[in-house]
Structures are given as C-alpha cells and as structure tokens.
Amino acid sequence: MSRALLEVKDLSVHFPVRRGWFEREQRWLRAVDGVSFTIQEGRTLGLVGESGCGKSTTARAIVGLNTPTAGEIHFAGKRMADLDGPALREARRGMQMVFQDPYSSLDPRMMLGDIIAEPLRAHRVYRSRTEERKRVAVLMDQVGLATSMSGRYPHELSGGQRQRAGIARALALKPRLVIADEPVSALDMSIRAQIINLLGELQDELSIAYLFIAHDLAVVRHTCDEVVVMYLGRIVERAPRERLFTAAEHPYTQALLDAVLPPRPMRDRRSLPLLGDVPSPVDPPSGCAFHPRCAHAVEECRVETPGLEARSHDHEVACHLTPDEWRGSDRRGADA
C-alpha cells in the first residue's frame, strides 16, 4: 500500500506586477491559483501544459524557491510551513530538482566529481574524503557515467552526459522525491530515450517518487503513472495515465493530445490545431480561462469558472461539458 509522500493543497503563487509608472492599483499575476495534488511514494506524477501555465512555478514553490501566497505543502507527513532551521534543511534534503538545461545548472568551473559531491559537502554527510569519493563513484555508476570522468568539466561533456551528472547530483542525498523540470526536452532524440529509461531504472532501484514536468505528452506517457494538466495556473484535468491518453475529458487535454505529431506520415491529417495563444495570467479571460480558445465553448463557459470535479474516483475534470456533449461539436464554424 503506497502512502502519500507529497501533498499540495490549494497552492497559490501570485506575483505583484506594476503596469505603468503612475498606476497605483496593485495588480497580481496568478501564476498558480488553487492547485492540489498528491504524489505517492515511489510513483510518478506528470505535470503538463503550455509555457506559462504555472507548472514550473508549482515545482519551485514545492522546493521553496517561490513563496506560496496561499495553500499548504505537506512532505513526508510534515507541513513545510511549520518547519524551520535543521528540520527544514532535513526536509529539503528529501526533495531534489533536475533541470531542463544541465549546462546552465552545472558550475562550469567545477569538475564533475566535485559537482556531484557538492550537496554531500553542503550537508556534511561524510567526514572523510574516502567515504565521499566512494559515494560519488556509486552515484556515477548508477547514472551510467564512467568514474574516470570525474575530473572532467561540464563543457567537456555531451548534453546527455551533463544531464546524467545533474541526475547524479540530485540523487546524492538519497531524496525520496525528485522534481524533474523538462529533463529531456533539451536532449537529442537518441539520448532522450536513454535518459527516460535511466529515470525509470532509478525509480525501480531506489523507489524515488518523481514530479515530472513536461510539455511532450508522448514522453509523459512513457514516464508517468498519473497526469495533471494545467492551464493558466489551474488544474483542468487529473487522471491516471491510461485514462488520460485514451479517454481525456477536457477539451484542452484533447487539444494537447491532438497537437502531438505522431512519427508516422499521414498526408490527409488536417486536424485543426488549437487556435490562439495562452492569454496573460495578469488579465485572465472570464469564466473558464480556456473558453476563448475552446472550439466547444457555450455561454456558461464565458460566465462561470468551472470547478475541478470528480468524474470517477481517480479522474477529475474542470469543464462545464461532458465529453459526450463536446466531442463532435465544433462551434468555431457556427460562431464566425
């Protein structure tokens, strides 16, 4: 029986923005607006959406890089906001991040071995250098880097090797949760599959839980047990993997799925891509934030914001319509 490792409850992160020099009124950018989800021990939750949907801000709030405006984050049974000093340090050890571009997240002047050892030193894990070196060797082996490479600098490594180093550093403190923000999107095609497989093997071996942030749904399908879809700071759909990929219930999820280009030539494929851009989170549309781009929007969508409601025990959707109501009805033609 798995237990909840991370619980995010009604998380909101708002940033103050000022429009002009003389504007007095304080405006807010609602980057994350009432987001809740749970990650079980050893499981993977995918967080997907277009850029600006708030997925990275959510991740940064979880590790404490952004201060939540409202809401709670519980990690391993403890409320993060209650912790300070050594207890907070201890909790933070348990969650580590892997970033998209390993080049900008690795210090170019440090050698690989030191980069991986740095978190161990920061937390004074080992007293002797010998023990530390042993641990670094184990970590390098786990992520598929030859120990002989520990004297190399980041610029001497390929993109895939740098990402392996980033993963090794994240694993150094034996975290229970790894937050991976677009970990494979900057990598080459033939390397992407290698890193996806590596993350899977590490999970089996070390029973780490992942919060996997990605925009590529095909990658998400290969890595995640459950998927949360975000749009403009809110969750629009949450479902187990197979359900999301076979029976999506939010038109936005369906649009994201339709936008994935399958690696198969299909000359007749002319499905209408989603129109328009993501609107500004400073000035979100009324009602359902997705309605201006939704091909199926009705009057109610313009007026009332749909809440996230359970469609089955593990499937939640924030939409006024059921798939039966919106599938096959494209109102774009009728409106024009």
Binding site: M189, S190, A193, A259, L274
Partner: protein, 337 residues
Amino acid sequence: MLDVRNLKTYFSTDEGEVRAVDGVSFAIARGEILCLVGESGCGKSVTAMSLLGLVPSPPGRVVAGEVLLAPEQEGGDGASALDLRKASESELRQVRGRRIAMIFQDPMTSLNPYLTVGVQLTEVLEVHMRMRGEPARERAAQMLTSVGISDAEQRLNDYPHEMSGGIRQRVMIAMALLCEPDVLIADEPTTALDVTIQAQILALIRQLQEGTGLGVLLITHDLGVVANMADRVAVMYAGRIVEQGPVEAIFDDPKHPYTAGLLRSLPQLSGPCETLPVIPGLPPPAGSTERGCSFAPRCDRVMDRCWQQDPPTVRWGSGRHVVCHLDDIATEDGERR
C-alpha cells in the same frame, strides 16, 4: 529548383580540420518539402548556411560542391542554372531574401528589437523590390494577414518584444515570403514553440506552400514534424546523409540502422509503454570518422568491414538511397554503386 551536389564544408579548429558537411547531395523540386533531419552537431544547419554562402569564414570554408539554383522563369529555356558557389557577393545578395529566404529557430534573435515590425518588413520590400511608402506598407500588412495575424495594420507598429513567440515566428514567415521566393529554408522553425503553437505554424507553412510552387528545405530534429510535413526526407548523421527518400518509404521501411533505431526509440502516444529500445552511445562530432562508417560504434548490426571501408551507396529508382554495408539492403531491387 535547387540542386545540391557533393557539398563539403570544413572548419579549421585547434584540433585540426572538422568536416562538418562531408559530401552532401540533395535536390528540392518546385512545390516540394524536403526535411533534413538529424541530431545536434550532425551538420544540418551548416548545410543550410553553406547554401547561401553564410558560413562564417574563417574558420569555415565550403571546399567543394555545387549549389545549383534553377533560373527564375519556368521552363527555363535560354538561362541556365546559377551555381551559388561560383556567384559573386552581389549576385548572392540578389538571391538571398529574394529567391531563397530563410527562417530560424528563434525569431527574437533575427528580428531587430529596436525597430517596429512594419519598418523591418518594408525595408525588405525596399531593398529587393524597390517598393516604398504606402504601397510597401500595404503589402506588408497584407502579408501579415496572410500568415494569420489579425489587426495587421495595427501590428505593423509593434516591436518584436510586444509579441508572443508564435506571433513572432509568423512575422518571420511573412518577412521571408514577402518577395515570393522560390525556396524557403526553415531551420528548426518550431523548436522553441509550444506544441499547440507548433501545430499552428506547421499548418501555416503547409498552407502557404501548397499550390504556390514554393520549395521548402525544413531542417528539424523532430521526426514527428518530419512525418507530418515532408514529401521527402534526408537523414543526416555525422556530416553525411545516410538515408534519403520519399517520406512514406523512410517511415514504413527504414533501411539504415540509424533511421530504424531512431524510429524505434521514440516515445509514442499509442502502443506498448515499456522500456524504450535505445541506440547506445553518443553521436560523434560531424566528420570525426577517418575511415569506415561513422555510425559503426553505435550500430546493432555492425560488421568487420564497417570499420574499414566507407559504406557504399545503394540506390533505388524512387529517388531513395541508403549508405550502408548491410547485404540485405542491396539484395532488394537496389543498385549498389
């Protein structure tokens, strides 16, 4: 329309000469989309730069090959093809932007942040078409409308930073197509965009290209983009094209082990969801292989001769060719050369 033969571009570095593009040949017919696909460092962007004489020199140098651009009038009786490699700088300037236009991955770096979009669009018309003032502005607005930008008149006064990434890429496409070029070179035009915006931009390129005779060289690393856009595909690895042919043939029956391995390793939206079959190792820097096949260290079907001899080119009538030693490739109706 554009016929590239045995193009070689070398760079001199501290570690010696790097053969970034090492004998690349392809042709783009009128109204055709050719996708040049490969991983970073395989030489696909250098190939594009070489076509237009844009390789920074030094350290780069186009050392061999022909880049033949068909004459402007259809039929082309009288005038012969222009070899861009032999063309003078002023002839090249006439070709760039006017007959061959180029768009890049990040429109922010190719648009001038200090000038409004309108100024930048009309400048192109002035340089190439000697069109000024109100007619130029009208033409620019009309072009913006045709790439799906609403309130085009208004948008001409905007600066690049006031636009989203998707709109900026539309502006770049509008700018590229202003002079009705014969060939569009698009280097990773959607890589920096969200998937939904990517779908919009790709649909736009296809819509603008269909029925106009515009030939497109689309450079990408994304096989999904290739499958949905290409008429023909050229797969590049370490400075060379290892497989080329019609898009259906490449995807339905990949013959080169590299192409086959890549297609197997792709995460997909359907089918089994288990460990992905990977190509082990890393792509080598272009042109680093002295002898034999540059894919040999990663190939699951490698044989002794792959290390020693350059692989032969096997050709089929359909315009398909594969550069590989494997015997079963040649035993079909391909002709070995």
